[in-house]
């Protein structure tokens, strides 16, 4: 199967590959997938007091498309608010990377990893954090 140029680029030059301190309260960690399925993604987000994603890192066990999907996701979420990051859909990743049908599950996994990281952060910061205010503010705007 031929890979798109963007997949190859992300695979060869992964953006934001690495880890953040998972014990940091400002860091949300999402690990999705399973080794026996052939892909595991770890996506971490460091979220500032105003609810803006300041940093994002990933590590992925999986095919080139899985690595590219997670790399792209970290690139996209940086600078976004939690609410904005929630809006990222796997289909956006499919379109950006021109993933073929057999690789759509890679994009689904990236979306799941992102949601899991956000959920982890929200759980860690459940009581009276700026995040909630941020979310409220966002709702207010809408």
């Amino acid at each position: 199967m031929a890979y798109s140029e963007k997949v190859i680029d992300h695979f060869q030059n992964p953006r934001n590959m690495g880890s953040l301190d998972k014990n940091d309260k400002a860091v949300g960690t999402g690990i999705v997938g399973a080794p026996e399925c052939g892909d595991v993604m770890k996506l971490q987000l460091k979220i500032g007091p105003t609810g803006v994603i300041e940093d994002a890192k990933f590590k992925t066990f999986g095919c080139g498309s899985a690595i590219a999907s997670s790399s792209l996701a970290t690139e996209w979420v940086k600078g976004k608010t939690i609410g904005e990051a929630m809006q990222i859909k796997n289909t956006d990743i499919v379109n950006e990377l021109s993933l073929p049908p057999v690789k759509i599950h890679c994009s689904v996994l990236a979306e799941d990893a992102l949601k899991a990281a956000l959920a982890d952060y929200l759980k860690k910061n459940a009581n009276g954090t700026p995040v909630e205010e941020n979310e409220k503010a966002k709702e207010g705007v809408q």
């Binding site: 080794p35 026996e36 595991v40 590590k59 066990f61 080139g64 057999v102 599950h105």
Partner: protein, 404 residues
């Protein structure tokens, strides 16, 4: 060194120029139909086919009349299984084969099951070899055929054909072997091994694609087959269709060369293969060999690299042509059925790479590939959350993963 490097010789092989030279006249000047009995063009073609049949038969200790030409080993396997199942239906309805066989045997067996036959798929031991006692125990008075491959296409493991043949003969059951990876690479003798049917093909041994053969024993016992194709009754009625004369000539030349060079080639490839394995294993930890360490084809190495997915590893080494047992290389999302049959865990099956060495593999290429594997696995492990977790001392088996 020329790039890309081809290291996938169990998938197919480049045609040897000496084979091409032997074939060329039969495309143009000597183009006759081997079944044309009334003119010189036909005679010339028939003569070439007869000579080729002789070469192929001799290569496996058979007689020329016992060779049936087909389009390749897939057709030969189909003909052997379906032909026996139909012809011997009154004798029994049970077929024995092995879980690690090629799809052209497994899928044919599955079709026989749908048509009312019973099929036993033998498990293999962790080294990929069948357990002869399990085979003995599987034979019933309904068993008409045992089909066990000579050497496995993924892990190169060589089955004990002689012992299997003895068991089959004692119990009066026909014995078929898919020797696609065997003929020309390891000794195959239809009498010493009590083989009744043997599938083989040209393109795995530097011959052309699209030509194969099925050996069908003519005496002690005389094997009869229902044909797959109806038509002009070529090949003793077992395979109708105008003979592919250039392909047959090339097939014979390829077999001749493979036999003449087999022993020297075995030594050379074993040395190169072991060097590749040693160089990779000394540069990396957590690398696992799949299949028996010695009872395997000299040109085959199959390794699993823990924490790294096979397709990404091939992508990282795109200047080297390799194969992986990872699901990502197929549409099915299931990893290699061969590795799973050995009891290799799913994650290590996803992490497997097959290195296939052959006639044109050089020492320089082996060194290059070994170095490249070490650096590629190292980079991908840096990117792998599993490697990170393992380094932190987390037992990956105890983690609750989210299946998807």
């Amino acid at each position: 060194m020329k790039f890309p490097i081809y290291m996938d010789y169990q998938a197919t092989t480049p045609m040897d120029r000496r084979v091409l030279e032997a074939m060329l006249p039969y495309f143009t000047d000597d183009f006759g139909n081997a079944a044309s009995r009334n003119h010189a063009f036909g005679w010339k073609a028939e003569e070439a086919v007869d000579a080729a049949r002789e070469v192929l038969a001799k290569a496996i200790g058979a007689e020329a009349r016992e060779i049936v030409f087909t389009s390749g080993a897939t057709e030969s396997n189909n003909l052997a299984l379906k032909g026996v199942a139909e012809m011997y239906a009154s004798k029994g309805n049970h077929v024995i084969t092995v879980q690690t066989e090629h799809p052209s045997v497994l899928d044919t067996a599955a079709r026989l099951e749908r048509q009312g036959h019973r099929v036993t798929y033998l498990q293999v031991k962790p080294d990929g070899i069948i357990d002869l006692d399990v085979l003995r125990g599987a034979i019933t008075d309904q068993t008409i055929l045992i089909s066990v491959m000579a050497a496995n296409n993924e892990i190169g493991v060589i089955q004990p054909l002689e012992e299997i043949g003895r068991i089959a003969r004692e119990r009066g059951v026909l014995f078929h072997t898919d020797a696609t990876q065997g003929v020309g690479k390891i000794p195959i003798d239809v009498n010493a091994m009590h083989l009744d049917l043997v599938s083989f093909t040209a393109h795995k041994i530097y011959g052309p694609k699209g030509i194969g053969a099925l050996y069908v024993r003519r005496k002690n016992p005389r094997v009869r087959l229902a044909p797959l194709l109806d038509g002009g009754g070529h090949e003793r009625g077992m395979r109708s269709g105008t003979l592919n004369v250039p392909g047959i000539v090339g097939f014979a030349r390829a077999v001749e060369l493979a036999l003449a060079e087999r022993e020297a080639e075995e030594r050379r490839l074993t040395r190169l293969r072991d060097r590749l394995r040693d160089q990779i294993m000394s540069g990396l930890d957590r690398v696992f060999l799949n299949g028996h360490p010695e009872k395997r084809l000299p040109g085959n190495l199959n390794l699993s690299f823990a924490y790294v997915e096979g397709e990404s590893l091939m992508m990282e080494m795109k200047e080297v042509a390799l194969s992986s047992g990872s699901a990502c290389t197929s549409a099915s999302l299931k990893p290699s059925h061969v590795l799973l049959a050995l009891g290799v865990s799913d994650d290590l099956a996803h992490s497997s790479i097959r290195f296939g060495l052959g006639r044109f593999t050089t020492e320089e290429e082996v060194e290059y590939v070994a170095d490249k594997v070490v650096s590629a696995v190292t980079r991908l492990r840096e990117m792998s959350p599993l490697y990170e977790m393992a380094k932190e001392g987390i037992d990956l088996k105890t983690v609750e993963w989210s299946e998807h």
